[in-house]
Symmetry: C2
Subunit: 279 residues, 2 copies
């Protein structure tokens, strides 16, 4: 596996692979099994597998955890190599943003809900860096986790709108044995919070079961899930929402393909999780 550190260096190498299919996994690093499942697929389903590690300042708001986002490049490189990655791209902020951006991208839809509501500009930063990364890597297939289901839906509409010639593949959330969704931010949980945190997924599963009741409405579902999370964890609920998927539109009643999603703030980490299901 080669590590490349500038857009030019990676672009030059990938230009030699014009006839190969390229699978790509964009990440912020500090790999867990969720990332590795994406890399496994990118490697298995393409001639060439590329992953990137870039903690993108543009998608972090003031007071968010850009500075303290966990980083461990050496460990990540070893894991990526083991997962079959051919080229690992670790650009500096300077090489990605050599000067002030003269173009700005903003998403108008699906962003005032879920994480978008409490992280204004977050998805604008996400699609801006992805536009750059997609142009640098020119992947055929891009693998993203469905744990951040809103991100997946937003990026999908972004790619459609700008005709990016790639296929976006959503990969199911990988979980700990106790159900907690794998996340780089889990390391910031206290011991007590770590013990409580699986209650989030249990609450979502309970909400999914409730949704099958034809007499229930979505507000009742989300209230029940909120109560379960509040009762079983010390976290503060950012949101619990039950929306159509992938449109992410509010519905009075859970019908068709739905997503039940939540974000919960603990002392040192804000965790997200969701379940996607058919009613």
């Amino acid at each position: 596996m080669d590590i490349l550190r500038t857009p030019e260096a990676l672009r030059k190498i990938l230009d030699e692979h014009k006839l190969n299919t390229i699978g790509y996994v964009p990440t912020m690093g500090y790999f867990h099994e969720g990332h590795l499942s994406l890399m496994d697929r990118a490697s298995a389903e393409n001639d060439i597998a590329v992953a990137s590690i870039f903690v993108n300042p543009l998608q972090f708001g003031p007071g968010e955890d850009f500075e303290k986002y966990p980083r461990d490049e050496e460990r990540d490189a070893a894991l990526a190599e083991k997962a079959g990655i051919d080229y690992l791209f670790i650009p500096s902020v300077q090489s990605m943003y050599p000067h002030e951006m003269r173009v700005s991208l903003s998403m108008n839809k699906r962003t005032d809900i879920l994480c978008g509501a409490s992280r204004p500009g977050h998805f604008d930063g996400v699609v801006t860096v992805l536009a750059k990364l997609f142009n640098i890597v020119r992947p055929d297939h891009v693998y993203m986790g469905l744990k951040d289901a809103q991100q997946f839906a937003v990026v999908q509409s972004f790619c459609e709108d700008l005709n990016f010639p790639l296929e976006l593949i959503g990969v199911p959330t990988v979980r700990e044995a106790d159900g907690l969704a794998k996340s780089s931010r889990n390391v910031f949980l206290t011991e007590k919070e770590r013990e409580e945190a699986p209650a989030i997924y249990r609450a979502l599963i309970a909400g999914e079961q409730l949704s099958k009741d034809p007499s229930i409405n979505t507000k009742e579902v989300t209230e029940q899930v909120k109560q379960l999370i509040t009762k079983n964890t010390s976290g503060t609920i950012d949101y619990v929402e039950c929306l159509s998927y992938p449109d992410l539109i509010a519905k009075e009643e859970p019908r068709g393909k739905m997503i039940l999603a939540t974000a919960v703030k603990f002392s040192g980490a804000r965790l997200i999780d969701n379940v996607i299901f058919d009613v």
Copy 2:
């Protein structure tokens, strides 16, 4: 030459040319020698030459000439074929914008001057459609006329910011024998206006000469050019500006590489022209 009418059809054909270099000329059609000079170069300098005709509604403001922009597809197709174009892309508005855009792009720099000042949102529309077209065509080389020098500078910074893997090539303005810059909009000039219009270029050349005087400042240059245009044409001046090039920054004195640019409104057409020179 093949004519393709949907993004999918063109993308499918171009996928067969992965090892070939692709030269690309994005246009709004109604070809004149300016367009043909771009196509000649695209054809001469690449394995495959692609041109597109798309009058992009997104870059026209209310009251501008989107509806009446001249169109002649049959004549254009014959000219493009003669100029060596392999694939001519003529998408419908519906196929380019199948639903309301969920992402919006806006340019923050170099747009509050020259044409940008009187056409708010114009360059945002230009870069949006180019992002789409560049992703559909995936060109190695893109040929654009320097008659719209601000457009060229804006698109250059846009491509840099989003890492589009292509080279943008600016091709000098093609002129009528009397000096008038070739433009699809020239057909809308009255006979009298057509006779006056070459005075625009003569005024710019006079301004270029004046700029060589080390004691002159840019304000004096633009005032002189305005007087010449006002005296010799019935048009209304939109702007005459003398800026550094390609940064497009206002300077007290003309020094280094400069652009002297103007837009003049006639009864049925707004014409632009410029000269780029070293002092």
